[in-house]
Amino acid sequence: MLNSKIPEGPLENKWSSYQTKSQLINPANKKKLNVIVVGSGLAGAGAAATLAELGYDVTCFCYQDSARRAHSVAAQGGINAAKNYQHDGDSVWRMFHDTLKGGDFRSREANVYRLAELSAPLIDHYVQQGVPFAREYGGVLANRSFGGVQVQRTFYARGQTGQQLLLAAYSQLYKMKRAQKVAMFPRHEMLDLVVIDGKAKGIIARDLITGQLKRFAADSVVLATGGYSRVFRLSTLAIGCNGSAIWKAHKRGAYFAAPSFTQVHPTALPQTSEAQSKLTLMSESLRNDGRIWVPKKKDDDRRANAIPEEERDYYLERRYPSFGNLAPRDIASRAAKERIDAGYGVGPFKNAVYLDFKHAVERFGIQTIQDRYGNLFKMYKKITGVDAYQEPMQISPAAHFSMGGLWVDYELMTTIPGLYAIGECNFSDHGANRLGANSLLQASIDGYFVLPNTINNYLADELKEDHPTTDHPEFDKAQKEVEQQITKLLTVRGDKTVDHFHRELGKVMWQECAMSRNKEGLGNAISKIKEIRDAFWNEVNVTGGQQEMNTELEKALRLADFLELGLLMCTDAFQREESCGAHFREEYQTDEGEAMRNDKTHAYVSAWAYDNGNFQLHKEPLVFENVQPTVRSYK
């Protein structure tokens, strides 16, 4: 049933052989084809700009006031590429292997290989677009190392790599807007997908300024809407990040793959109050030079600097001597949780661990550390008022990245023909855990290099079809459903706020479906979420109307979808009876507390179909022809 369309032939040749065989469209015909791109982050803006350059007629949407705000902007650390500039034994194969292993062998070989293969040209592309990547005095590009890897292949622009890449993509997008090849709709949120005769043919979007519902028809729809970890409420994501577009697509027939695979980032700032809306991320690159520790004594109330060396537990170095502080994110997060749960946490709420730069400053001097992380230290001081050159930072794990997303084949098409999902909103390359500095990479590769070379294979046939128009009955139907949902929300008039329910949902999700999960907890979570969902629809109060800018309504619409998505996440975590990557089931662990994967029974991608409020599991078996899955050890 699930056809991943992986091309035949040896791994190294799959992408090139795919390209030689896929159908082409002549330039004169491309302009007759309209493509909708929802989302304007690295994946969306990259795709929209590149498709426009190729000659397609592109319409691009984002809910923010400008494409430049998309949350790709927040990725700090860098972007990986197998350039081997450091002469340290890196290669496409090694990067492929690292990524596959980092994902705990829960992703497709062919996709991951393509990601590694296209990484080097991507750096060329960004340099050409004017990204000010860090350089050596000699003028060549600089690299640094990153978690889960033993070579230096990460390219970076201070602590603002994501921002610089996004600005490049955004400026390329606006270049094409100037050329009138892209119509840009900021402050528009997609509220439904329109499927005609089984094919994706348009969307319903709400103009966030006027509240007007608008219809947009196209020959193909590309979703690039990012991650959905705001389902936990407290996360490193932007407040507006949501899962609504992919959820609506899921309800219209797109399979949702591995929804429970959520990465928890080890280096965020700890929660300090109930009203908190967000956990600020401190770049993982800090772990290059910072050392993570907790006191050896429980409830040690001394100031960090007053605790002598021999009374500090550098637990990552202790448990994982060969990777130490650079252990992959899932492992570092879980290790922190283990220490905090055991009562060794620090800070006023005992919910943090120390990230200490004392040794790095002693070794390299304050100037070097300032060069490498200056803006991060500054940011830390702005938020906490603490000078991290003098005192260690306090960090804590936080929900960060959704490996899961809409199921896509090798062409990045979902199970709805003509509907594509690119970037974080799909499930493709990261398996059960994403390596640091691979998210910018995947989003960019999908948007710039893959989609523009696969969408033609579908659109070539669409040329012969009638172009859809917005007066098709399916548009009426979809718009009516959206209107009904909005009216329903506005007429509940209960006595609780949207945020109240979001906090409730977040607590359940964080407790039962984050760093460590178990059968009983997930079972309880499912029934609790159902209760919260029912309470939401009966007791929520959304003030204001539909025909105006209404931020409360926007939040309510997003939460309504999160409440359903949370159910699916727990259902998925419930059925996967093994531990792999970020998915850690307490029942499946070694005596030392390491994850126990089960390749015999669980070497598959779970892909869920929506069926009237129920979820049906389909499995895409993962076949490893080139790499033998091994126990993922970073010891």
């Binding site: 927040a74 109050s273 991320l281 008022g385």
Partner: protein, 248 residues
């Protein structure tokens, strides 16, 4: 802690606005300023009132979407931060805090504290890019770029487009924003081929959008969350003189 918020309310771009006063009790010093507004909004919902519209997204100081005028300063009482990085510990218990939208003719108010900054996008659209197509790039290390050059480009490129420079400027000048993008691209070898057109077209668009001119008060560099210095404006002027009068 208790704060008396005096907040600008305006139904939409066409309507007249005015200040409303809200007494909010139960805030804590650890709350960010935006979380305090969230808290106020939840109280408003409980009173069946319409919530206050204000903007934010990443809440970690990088997306540039948040931004209001707080107690007479863009992004509040501290230098070089964003609104989302401001915390309630910066205010005194019982203090009155005046919250206003960015004021500039080129940034019309959409609702309450939300303004339309699309003028910035249109400035970028006029040349804030390098017109090379995807797939045409040469090997990244083929062109060497000195560390000093790229560091200076990065200093300018750090702009988050929040609009505080315009908001704080008595002339509502967008010179710092425009200069930052021009200097970022024009100082890199990749940006050189289009350098002259870029500076001329972007500055022309800046004027068409109705921003005022720079009189070097220096307020912008104090409010800029990325600490982009005003010297960038002088550099842009030099680049413009060169493009306009000294040939391409």
């Amino acid at each position: 802690m208790k704060i008396v918020f005096k907040i600008w309310r305006q139904v939409n771009s066409k309507s007249q606005g005015g200040f409303e006063t809200y007494e909010v009790d139960g805030l804590t010093e650890d709350m960010s300023f935006l979380e305090a507004l969230d808290y106020l909004n939840e109280r408003l919902v409980q009173r069946n009132e319409k919530v206050i519209a204000y903007e934010y997204d990443c809440r970690e100081g990088i997306c540039g979407q948040c931004g209001v005028f707080i107690n007479g300063r863009a992004h509040g009482p501290h230098d070089n931060i964003t609104t989302c990085q401001l915390h309630m510990r910066s205010f005194k218990d019982g203090e009155t805090v005046v919250v206003e939208p960015w004021r500039a003719a080129a940034f019309p108010v959409i609702k309450d504290l939300v303004v339309d900054r699309s003028a910035f996008d249109r400035i970028i659209e006029q040349g804030g890019y390098i017109s090379a197509r995807t797939g045409t790039a040469a090997e990244a290390n083929a062109i060497l770029v000195g560390k000093e050059v790229v560091d200076r480009a990065m200093d300018a490129a750090a702009c988050i487009g929040c609009g505080a420079c315009v908001a704080t400027c008595k002339n509502a000048s967008a010179a710092l924003f425009t200069a930052a993008k021009i200097n970022h691209l024009n100082s890199l070898p990749q940006g050189k081929p289009e350098a002259s057109n870029r500076v001329l077209e972007m500055t022309r668009q800046m004027e068409l959008e109705g921003f005022g001119s720079c009189t070097f008060t220096g307020a912008c560099e104090v409010e800029c969350p990325e600490e982009i210095p005003m010297i960038n404006i002088a550099e842009m002027n030099a680049r413009r003189v060169k493009a306009k009068w000294l040939g391409k």
